[in-house]
Amino acid sequence: MLDTIRRLVDEQGRLAVAAETIGDNADLYATGLTSFAAVQLMLALEETFDVEFPDRMLNRRSFSSIASIAGCLHELKEAA
């Protein structure tokens, strides 16, 4: 899952660095993730993992690191 998230971060995140160099807990916003790109990333995650992010997850914290994104996806997959 982490590899897939990294691939989507590379494709949608418009970051200054490659996702493979970013630690699981590193702050994505500090590498240039904007709220615009976070929405594009969210759409790609929904499509790839076949989930829907509920409103309560649509906040800054959910997309702040690869690990927090994975945490949200786990929660959504378990609920499904």
Binding site: Y29, A30, T31, G32, L58, N59, R61
Partner: protein
């Protein structure tokens, strides 16, 4: 009895007395600001433990509205100052420098200005070109093409920049610089249509200060947790004041006309009814927004959520559009008496001042951001919360 609002009454009267001169000459409202300082209203929001008034944002909004009815420039400067204060309160806590500065704002009634936008990025304040360049215990910053309202009259300026010279444009921090720590080179004047007293001149800002004056929180947090909401709510409160005064002038016109023509309402009377419904919408929008903000402040995730950002942006869009519609109705109601500058029904200055609302962070830019957020956020289909 509401103490801050009572103290505000004298300020409002002072602002009213000089409003025409401030507008005509595009000068800073010195008298109103002296009165605001005398009444200690510049520190109204600052917690009592730091020497301020400890008032809720709704009290500040009420004063913005009252001032907006008389002198929109004074009201807007007061609003912009309080937006900066709110960031200091929300994000300066726990930092020794910022806490002692907050105390000084209260003691000395310092006026805070803002340099968030920048030449080259326009109204997109979540991107910076300039950067904080650290050199040991100090940093340097130079921002070009900054439009800084009352920049020449500010005692300190809160300024945004990239974290460092190699940081991406969206990775920003904010710092407080005091007047003695920066230089402003004027690059453009402020001969504008309205809000003329805000003296929003263009500057090149260059400054140097100790690193402790940079906020420890990311500007992204400051933007979403204090600036976005307070700016849209307080600006809207100002525009509500402008629109409500225009409409009350139109109402006086209709009443006067009705007394002279008892056998039927003047043609404008219907428009008055229509405009009051718009005014009510505008008011509910702002009042609900103040409540939504107060509630979100109890929960960091909510404060940083897309739905909160959508709500605050919509308040700005709604009140900037409604204010112009309402003032236009007031103009249609009073006709030539409203169009002329020298009658009690004149709404020319109201219109000119309110036109700033849609360009002050361009509505088109906000709509673009909103349409992106709405790819994710769901439409709220409930009435209650």
């Amino acid at each position: 009895m509401n103490a801050p609002l009572d103290r505000g009454a004298n300020v409002v009267a002072t602002a009213a007395r000089h409003a025409d001169d401030v507008d005509r000459n595009g000068r800073f409202p010195i008298e109103a600001f002296q009165a605001l300082k005398d009444a200690r209203l510049l520190s109204l929001l600052i917690p009592i433990e730091f020497g301020g008034g400890g008032a809720p944002l709704s009290d500040v909004a009420e004063i913005c509205t009252s001032l907006g009815q008389q002198c929109a420039s004074t009201a807007m400067i007061f609003a912009m100052h309080q937006i900066k204060v709110s960031s200091l309160i929300a994000h300066g806590r726990g930092s020794a420098w910022h806490e002692s500065f907050m105390r000084r704002v209260a003691d000395e009634q310092l006026l805070l200005g803002s340099a968030t936008t920048e030449g080259g990025v326009g109204g997109n304040m979540r991107n910076s070109i300039c950067a904080f360049e650290r050199d040991g215990a100090t940093f340097r910053i130079a921002k070009e093409g900054a439009l800084i309202s009352y920049g020449a009259y500010s005692d300190a300026i809160l300024i945004t920049a990239r974290r460092s010279a190699d940081a991406p444009p969206s990775d920003q921090l904010m710092a407080v610089l005091e007047k003695s720590q920066y230089r402003l080179d004027r690059t453009g004047g402020w001969d504008a249509l309205g809000m003329r007293g805000t003296c929003s001149e263009g500057f090149t800002f260059s400054g140097e200060a100790p690193i402790e004056q940079i906020f420890t929180h990311d500007f992204a947090e400051i933007a979403s947790e204090s600036m976005l909401a307070t700016a849209h709510l307080l600006w809207s409160a100002v525009w509500y004041g402008v629109a409500s005064d225009a409409l009350s002038r139109a109402q006086s016109f209709v009443r006067k006309d009705a007394r002279r023509h008892p056998n039927g309402p003047a043609p404008g009377a219907l428009r008055l009814a229509e405009a009051t419904s718009k005014l009510q919408l505008m008011r509910s929008n702002i009042v609900e927004g103040l409540k939504r903000f107060a509630k979100a402040q109890q929960n960091a995730d909510d404060l940083n959520s897309m739905s909160f950002a959508v709500a605050m942006n919509n308040i700005k869009i709604g009140s900037s559009q409604l204010s112009i519609e309402i003032i236009n109705h007031a103009l249609l109601i009073a006709g030539i008496a409203g169009y002329k500058n020298d009658t009690p029904f004149s709404v020319g200055r109201h219109m000119r001042d309110a036109l700033s609302a849609q360009v002050m962070i361009s509505n088109d830019r906000i709509f673009t951001n909103l349409s992106n957020l709405l790819l994710a956020q769901r439409i709220d289909q409930r009435l209650g919360d």
